[in-house]
């Protein structure tokens, strides 16, 4: 594996109870790049991410990680029951031995520090995603693995989240591998796209993938709209970049 590579996946296959969830998936990740996995429901996006972080047994194939690769992971679903009293700060403390100062710094990076003493069960969906992201950032990761970080968010919430992510990336150089349903933001905010439907249908730069026949077949007419939105979004992308570049 080259030094610029963080992760190399070769021929990854995951089967559960005789059903093949993902089949012969190969790709690699470079330092600092944002790669988005898209694909239909049941296409194996979550399975792929879980296999990468060790939360799903792999049937065959290899996952080679750079030496000392630190991964920050956010799961697709977090159970925040009212029956469990736990504050945001305490939730971060549950990640391991991280000082109060480090936790505060991580919460500031995702603009959730004001909710530090709130109960987890009182948070909105967007706030929970930002708490999860700060928890993932605590261990100063080289790679963020985010499973549908914008599900359940409205359009402004999504945009805000992706802006945060791009600020964090430019400040720390962290690579991002995430799952998303949201085509137009994917196209705008990713360096590379992997289209997954059990196997890798197509992958590459957003511009290339969006005209790939297999991609168009999966996503139909919405896909070409996404490409259009992509150019549109780029023109006013600069939302308070300068303030946080060293957060």
């Amino acid at each position: 594996m080259q030094p610029s590579q963080l992760l190399e996946v070769v021929g990854l296959t995951v089967k559960i109870g005789g059903r093949t969830l993902i089949d012969n998936v190969s790709f690699s990740l470079q330092r600092g790049e944002i790669v988005t996995v898209i694909g239909p429901n049941g296409g194996g996006k979550t399975t792929l991410l879980r296999a990468l972080v060790g939360a799903m047994p792999i049937s065959s194939g290899t996952i080679t990680k750079a030496a000392d690769l630190k991964i920050g992971y956010t799961p697709q679903r977090l159970t925040t029951e009212r029956s469990m009293p736990v504050t945001v700060d305490r939730f971060l403390a549950l990640a391991g031995r991280f000082s109060a100062a480090l936790r505060l710094e991580a919460m500031q990076k995702t603009e959730i520090a004001v909710r530090k003493d709130a109960m987890m069960s009182d948070l909105s969906g967007g706030e929970i995603q930002r708490v999860l992201l700060s928890r993932a950032l605590l261990r100063k990761p080289d790679l963020l693995v985010l499973d549908e970080p914008t599900q359940g968010l409205d359009q402004p919430g999504e945009e805000h989240f992706y802006n945060l992510l791009s600020q964090i990336r430019s400040a720390s150089g962290v690579a991002v591998l995430m799952v998303s349903h949201d085509l137009h933001v994917v196209m705008a905010g990713s360096d590379r796209v992997i289209c997954l439907n059990g196997h890798v249908c197509c992958s590459g730069a957003p511009e290339a993938v969006s005209v790939d026949p297999t991609y168009l077949e999966l996503f139909g007419r919405r896909a070409s709209l996404a490409l259009y939105q992509h150019h549109h979004d780029h023109s006013h992308d600069g939302h308070d970049h300068s303030d946080h570049s060293h957060g």
Partner: protein, 269 residues
């Protein structure tokens, strides 16, 4: 403490000591049962204890050992069986626990050496605990508290998200083992005290009563232990005064505390 000063009868003190140990172990375990919505799982494990008693008697094993083995087997099978083949988790749970319960009832009646007093088994008989019972119950209760404290952070993380816990270096097998074995041990320890029917109540009620007063997982477990301990004292006192069955009286005392703490929270809002 009224009990200690007014009545120094040994059996009441033994009952109190055993009850306090159970309340202590029930608190952290009960919190997880509440947080993870495992009430039905608790019931299933508890119901299998009848089979444990019958087998224990038939094979001349100590009762608690028989119950612990059968409860651990049933809980383990259910926890590891998973839901891959299309049955919902509670269906699998129901199949195994009711099989164990039915088998227990049959064995308890037809095997000559396994004659079981069903009423005692179902309702418990805390006033009959012996000195060695008290020692075994305290050791078991302290073991449960020790194991749960040791795995506390990991258990909390898995409650939020099993994937997150694993991604951060935890083990799902360890998580399941710790909870199911603790639960099986708890069933074995508490069966004689509160009876098969009310074991899950002993887990859930103190934790639920503690919730409105707690600001952290640890304070919830601590308050649950205090509420459980007070309930044991009140229940035994009531059993002494009015000759009410001890196990159900303990649970009733917790129910009243549950209503009080939740009323307080309701009016605070």
């Amino acid at each position: 403490m009224i009990i200690l000063t007014t009545v120094m009868d040994d059996f009441i003190i033994r009952a109190l000591l055993a009850g306090l140990a159970i309340a202590l172990a029930a608190a952290p375990l009960g919190c997880f049962v509440v947080w993870r919505k495992m009430a039905y799982f608790g019931d299933a494990t508890a119901h299998s204890s009848l089979l444990g008693i019958a087998l224990g008697l038939a094979l001349a094993l100590p009762l608690m050992l028989g119950v612990a083995i059968v409860a651990a087997l049933v809980a383990g099978i259910v926890a590891l069986a998973g839901t891959r083949d299309g049955f919902a988790a509670d269906t699998i749970l129901g199949v195994f626990s009711h099989t164990a319960l039915a088998l227990g009832l049959v064995l308890a009646t037809i095997v000559p050496d396994a004659r079981v007093d069903l009423l005692d088994t179902l309702l418990g008989d805390i006033l009959a605990v012996t000195e060695s019972d008290v020692i075994v119950i305290w050791c078991g209760a302290l073991a449960i508290v020790a194991v749960l404290s040791w795995r506390w952070r990991s258990l909390l993380n898995a409650t939020f998200s099993p994937e997150l816990m694993i991604a951060e270096g935890g083990s799902q097998t360890a998580d399941k083992l710790v909870l199911t074995l603790s639960l099986a041990l708890f069933v074995a320890l508490s069966m004689q005290l509160v009876g098969v029917l009310l074991i899950t109540a002993m887990l859930i009620l103190p934790a639920a009563a503690a919730r409105p007063l707690a600001r952290s997982p640890e304070s919830m477990a601590t308050i649950a232990a205090l509420i459980g301990g007070v309930s044991v004292a009140i229940g035994l006192q009531s059993s002494w005064t009015w000759d009410s069955p001890a196990g159900p009286s303990i649970i009733l005392a917790t129910s009243i505390i549950f209503m009080l703490t939740n009323l307080v929270q309701f009016f605070r809002r």
